[in-house]
């Protein structure tokens, strides 16, 4: 038995299995037709034109399960007592001109009739939540500069003008402003992933200048190394790049680390950044080529389809994973459109395969928003990709800047304007804000640091985080301030190294780091966790396995994570090294050490009770183990791990 196409092993298995069932003395159990994969396409092809969306011929609408079960003006089309006598089954085979469905054109094939009959007889099970009707919201594609409402007082940042107006309309108060120390800590973690050091904190608190917050934001954004090494984790997650992992050893996958690191250091304009990934060079092709698996794989996972999925999700917030097997039932994307995008990338003509069954139809190369222009399918691949890259970054394409700025908003503010960030077809809680962020990026030559600066300088960012005793219902989200965030695995690791001065000297990422200072005094900045391979602790704390794109880190601390924090060998040795390093710093007294630790970790002095408890733990001549326990106690505080 030869396999003509390596992609159909699953189909092959099914055939093998069903073939075997014939020799079995026991009949295989009757299986209901699969609603999503088998029934929906039949209903779509033969019935949708007259019975979905606004059309309800004969009073019958297939839009939702409810409307389908309600039936037509002639009553229910399903007979629950005798399913085989259901009206729907009668009309699809009826020869009566008045009765037959569809009334004109091709009839259902015998196979389709059979599938529909199996489905109806086995209870006509409907996929929960599935609906034929189009989603109520279709995001506009073009960019738009919103008309800004008048500023309230001196709150002139365009974000504040929109949000202040939004809150006023809803008769909601503005969230309380953030104090200097909390601002400094938050903005450091958000922009460079590090805590402010104690000297910086003191100087900032003492600085009377009105523009000191803006100066800090600018200084942080100007710190190329710290910025690059913090945002590296965000991009590694989004572009599924890592230093070890499936495929790297046998050449089935390639890193883009060196290019990515340099692009972040150089703050490459985002449109150029996207173009270089979409139409790749040897330095960036790891992203486009995806993971090549040994052996045969599902048709929806061939490299060209991975490309379509990755490009769609990362840059456009479009989930093409559904539409890689069949027409999506969560949004408007069709199988043929995913194949169209894949075909631009593919070296060879692609045949559309539906749920691992070849359809015989060729994929027509095409891009998702033809209203912006098309790709010339007669050109060679490299040129097709350049044309695609130009369409994705066309200034008339508002989707690309909206998608990335929404991701940045989510990182800084804890929740996207569109939520979730990978479903950009969803309605934003403020269209004006989403459009402002997008058009601001385009106007600023796709400089992402400008977006970060705009957000960080807003009063919205500089206000207290929302607090709730129970998780609010997402469906009814109303903006009431930033959402609290949790330190990521890398941020927590970096914080320990930073507080104690105990970072390792070696790292794994194949990147070139620059030293600061001159000549003999030149030294590299602290090695960051983002440059290291993941370890058990980081994995437990939510650093993802980057075989798939993962764009949101977990918010809650789980019990298994907490166990690792309580007794895991990695954290234990990090803290032991940290305590050693602190001993070597020779603090004048235990109280001085405690004061340093509170300022370095929490950006405040300890209270009298806290100081007393900590000094009691340390004693006058603190042992390394006592310092280690002190560190642990402080690092486990929600005040330390939750960014408010």
């Amino acid at each position: 038995m030869n396999l003509p196409n390596p992609n159909f092993s699953l189909v092959f298995l099914r055939r093998l299995v069903s073939g075997m069932a014939l020799v079995s003395p026991l009949a295989a159990p009757l299986e209901a037709a699969d609603f999503v994969h088998e029934v929906v396409p039949i209903l779509k092809q033969h019935c949708a034109e007259c019975h979905t969306d606004m059309k309800q011929k004969g009073g019958l609408s297939f839009n939702t399960e409810e409307s389908f079960r309600k039936g037509s003006k002639n009553g229910p089309i399903l007979d629950t007592a005798h399913p085989e006598k259901s009206l729907i089954l009668k009309v699809i085979v009826s020869e009566d001109e008045e009765e037959r469905m569809p009334p004109k054109g091709a009839r259902l094939s015998a196979k389709e009739v059979g599938l529909l009959r199996d489905w109806v007889v086995s209870g006509a099970k409907w996929e929960p939540g599935f609906a034929f009707k189009k989603p109520p919201y279709e995001p506009p594609l073009r960019p738009r500069s919103p008309v800004l409402p008048a500023a309230l007082g001196n709150r002139s940042n365009p974000i504040d003008r929109i949000i202040d107006h939004y809150l006023a309309e809803k008769k909601l108060p503005s969230p309380a402003p953030l104090d200097d120390a909390a601002f400094l800590r938050r903005v450091h973690i958000d922009l460079v992933g590090l805590l402010p050091d104690v000297g910086e904190l003191r100087a900032f608190l003492a600085d009377p200048a009105a523009d000191k917050r803006a100066r800090v934001v600018d200084a942080l954004l100007a710190n190329k190394t710290a910025y690059a090494e913090h945002w590296l984790s965000f991009w590694n997650d989004l572009l599924r790049n890592d230093y070890v992992g499936t495929g790297y050893i046998d050449g089935g996958r390639k890193q883009i680390s060196a290019w990515l690191y340099q692009a972040l250091r150089d703050n490459m304009p985002y449109d150029e950044f996207v173009r270089q990934l979409v139409a790749p060079s040897p330095a960036t092709e790891g992203f486009a080529n995806g993971i090549k698996w040994r052996g045969s794989i599902s048709a929806g996972q061939i490299p060209a389809m991975q490309y379509a999925q990755s490009v769609g999700q990362a840059f456009l917030g479009i989930n093409l994973k559904c539409a890689s097997c069949h027409d999506s039932f969560i949004d408007r994307w069709k199988l043929s459109e995913t194949y169209g995008l894949a075909a631009i990338f593919s070296d060879e003509p692609l045949e559309i395969v539906r749920c691992d069954k070849p359809t015989g139809k060729p994929a027509v190369p095409g891009w998702l928003f033809p209203e912006l222009g098309t790709v010339d399918v007669t050109r060679p691949k490299a040129e097709r990709l350049k044309q695609l890259a130009a369409l994705i970054t066309d200034p008339k394409n508002g989707r690309t800047p909206r998608t990335i700025t929404n991701r940045l908003w989510q990182r800084l503010m804890g929740r996207g304007v569109v939520h979730p960030v990978d479903a950009m077809q969803s309605a934003p809680w403020s269209e004006d804000l989403l459009d402002l962020l997008g058009s601001h990026l385009t106007e600023n030559h796709y400089d992402l640091k400008q977006t970060l600066r705009l957000i960080c300088l807003s009063q919205a960012y500089q206000s207290k985080a929302e607090s709730f005793s129970e998780l609010p219902q997402e469906g009814r989200y109303v903006y009431q301030g930033p959402r609290p965030k949790r330190l990521t695995a890398e941020e927590l690791t970096d914080a320990i190294w930073q507080i104690c001065g105990s970072a390792p000297a070696k790292f794994d990422a194949p990147v070139t780091r620059q030293t600061s200072g001159e000549g003999a005094a030149a030294k590299p900045p602290m090695v960051r966790a983002a440059l290291l391979q993941s370890d058990l602790l980081m994995r437990t704390l939510g650093r993802p396995n980057r075989e798939q794109i993962v764009t949101t880190r977990p918010l809650d601390l789980t019990t298994l994570e907490a166990m690792d924090l309580n007794n895991g060998a990695i954290l234990d040795s990090r803290l032991a090294e940290g305590a050693q390093a602190l001993v070597a710093r020779k603090f004048a007294s235990s109280a001085a050490l405690v004061s340093y630790l509170w300022q370095a970790a929490l950006a405040r002095e300890p209270g009298a009770d806290e100081l007393q408890a900590a000094v009691a733990l340390l004693g006058e001549k603190p042992a390394v183990s006592a310092i280690q326990d002190l560190l642990w106690g402080v690092l486990m505080l929600p005040e330390f791990q939750i960014i408010r």
Binding site: M1, N2, L3, S9, L10, F12, L13, L16, M20, V23, P29, E31, H37, P128, T246, Y248, W293, R294, G295, S296, S298, K321, S324, I330, P420, S467, F468, E470, L471, Q473, G475, P484, R539, P544, V550, T552, P554, D556, T558, T559, L560, E561, M563, L565, N566, N567, G568, A569, D572, D609, A613, A614, L617, D629, G633, M636, L637, P638, Q641, I642
Partner: protein, 481 residues
């Protein structure tokens, strides 16, 4: 140690209570959302706990549970005639024969359902970790989302039986420093369910205690002192006004839970040092044997899903690319008495009826065929020869996906029963009642009271316990079915 009183219905009720909170949490981030409860009918469980004995590397069925014509080592004998390299022996059930070397398991086969017709897809190129990903998650990689492990499904849907014993425990597999470790990590996780439902990994059973003990070098006094200090800091925290805050509360609760487990009496369950010398010897002085003993203790005290592996390391253990026969002799010794002992101990403790023990592997092996007949998978034997010339030629050195044995004990399965069969002549493919991974998982899930159609939503798409919700439990293997 006295078994604790476990009410199997209790965690389920707790779980239902938690469900509403969980679905809210799910909306918060990328977490999955459970399907509407009424959409899926959950079957009545015949087992409360599951132990998966994983024969990583491809356990050759003809040299273990499905003996065929025996070919002794005879110089010059054609490899094409070699089906089994061990003679068949009798078992406690007249009609069931298994291979020489498994004499202790033979004695407990009257408690077993033996499936001889498990099949796997031919993925075109045999890569153990890829087939293991498929076996453990039900989904062939690559997938567009991270698929949860079988144990993660149980942890997610059923929760722990005892709140202080993690629901999913993985014994014996190192995830660092072994070949294909990145690929192993990819499925040894909670997948998109998140790390809460991922495994507690105990690669060395003798060190399991370390996982539930204060960090190395920290005596209990210091550990308690540290916790007391932390509590003081929490109480004195000037951010007290945020004490009702959801995130703060949930973080403190997780830390509290962890500390409770670390200082609970159940922590002793992880300590094999508390077992008598006789007991430990009865399980054999190997990591797998000690893992079986640990699994027994964990299930007795409320673990939900425990996997114990002979450990997959490329080219070692079951993964014989040369010299297969002599390696098989070692593997027989490694598993024979621990598995038999485990079954008898569970029975003696009246746990076997409600504990499903499954012996499985990612595929079988054959002397000639790589993949299935006609596959274009690359021949990976390291001892290629048409005739038996040296001992290294003697063994089943190709990866075979057309017919694999799975043994199930207890947990509502029939006893002394064989399901399916493979051909007696090469190709040794399943010729009766082939069982796909989906159907095998459906059977295991059904025994545990989880519908194979159970669905969670991820990235707004449905994701089912078995592929496309199509796994069908094998009715014939259930004692009551």
């Amino acid at each position: 140690m006295q078994p604790i009183d476990l009410d199997p219905a209790q965690p389920r009720r707790d779980f239902l209570k938690k469900l509403s909170a969980a679905s809210l949490a799910a909306l918060m981030a990328r977490a999955p959302r459970a399907a509407a409860a009424e959409a899926v009918h959950q079957p009545t469980a015949t087992a409360d706990a599951c132990i998966l004995l994983w024969m990583g590397g491809g356990m050759a069925a003809p040299d273990t549970f499905d003996p065929k014509a025996y070919q002794p080592f005879v110089k010059g004998a054609p490899v094409a005639k070699m089906l089994s390299t061990f003679p068949a022996i009798n078992t406690a059930v007249d009609s069931i024969k298994i291979c020489q070397g498994l004499e202790n398991i033979a004695k407990v086969m009257d408690r077993a359902t033996l499936i001889r017709s498990a099949v796997q897809p031919d993925l075109g190129s045999i890569l153990h970790s890829r087939h293991q990903y498929h076996w453990h998650t039900g989904y062939v990689p690559p997938q567009t989302v991270a698929a949860p492990h079988l144990g993660a499904w149980m942890a997610k849907v059923l929760g722990p039986r005892n709140p202080v014993i993690p629901a999913f425990i993985n014994i014996g597999q190192r995830l660092e420093g072994v070949g294909e470790s990145e690929e192993l990590k990819a499925f040894t996780t909670g997948g998109f369910f998140g790390s809460e439902f991922g495994p507690m990994s105990l690669p060395f059973p003798e060190d399991a205690m370390l996982a539930v003990r204060p960090p190395k070098g920290m005596d209990p006094g210091r550990f308690a002192n540290r916790q007391a200090f932390f509590k003081k800091l929490v109480d004195q925290n000037p951010h007290r006004d945020l004490m009702s805050d959801y995130q703060q509360q949930s973080m403190l609760r997780a830390l509290e839970n962890a500390h409770r487990l670390l200082s609970s009496p159940e922590a002793k369950v992880f300590d094999l040092g508390l077992e008598t010398k006789e007991t430990r010897e009865a399980y054999g002085n190997t990591r797998f044997g000690q893992g079986c003993l640990l699994a027994r203790n964990l299930v007795e005290h409320g673990a939900r899903f425990v996997e114990v592996t002979t450990e997959y390391v490329p080219f070692l253990h079951w993964d014989t690319h040369a010299d297969g026969h002599s390696v098989m002799e070692q593997m027989h010794r490694e598993i024979d008495s621990p598995i038999a002992r485990l079954i008898l101990d569970l029975e003696e403790r009246k746990l076997l009826d409600r504990t499903l023990v499954v012996i499985a592997s990612e595929f079988s092996r054959d002397a000639l065929i790589e993949g299935v007949p006609g596959s274009n998978a690359q021949d990976q034997s390291n001892a290629k020869s048409d005739t038996l010339e040296e001992p290294k030629h003697y063994g089943l050195h190709r990866h075979f996906t057309g017919g694999t044995s799975v043994v199930m004990f207890g947990g509502g399965m029939k006893r002394g029963f064989v399901y399916g069969a493979t051909a007696d002549e090469r190709p040794l493919i399943a010729i009766k009642n082939p069982v796909s991974i989906s159907d095998l998982h459906a059977t295991i899930f059904t025994a545990m009271g989880i519908s194979p159609k159970t669905m969670y939503e991820i990235e707004q798409r449905p994701f089912y316990a078995t592929l496309d919700a199509k796994g069908v439990a094998i009715k014939d293997v259930f004692a009551a079915g």
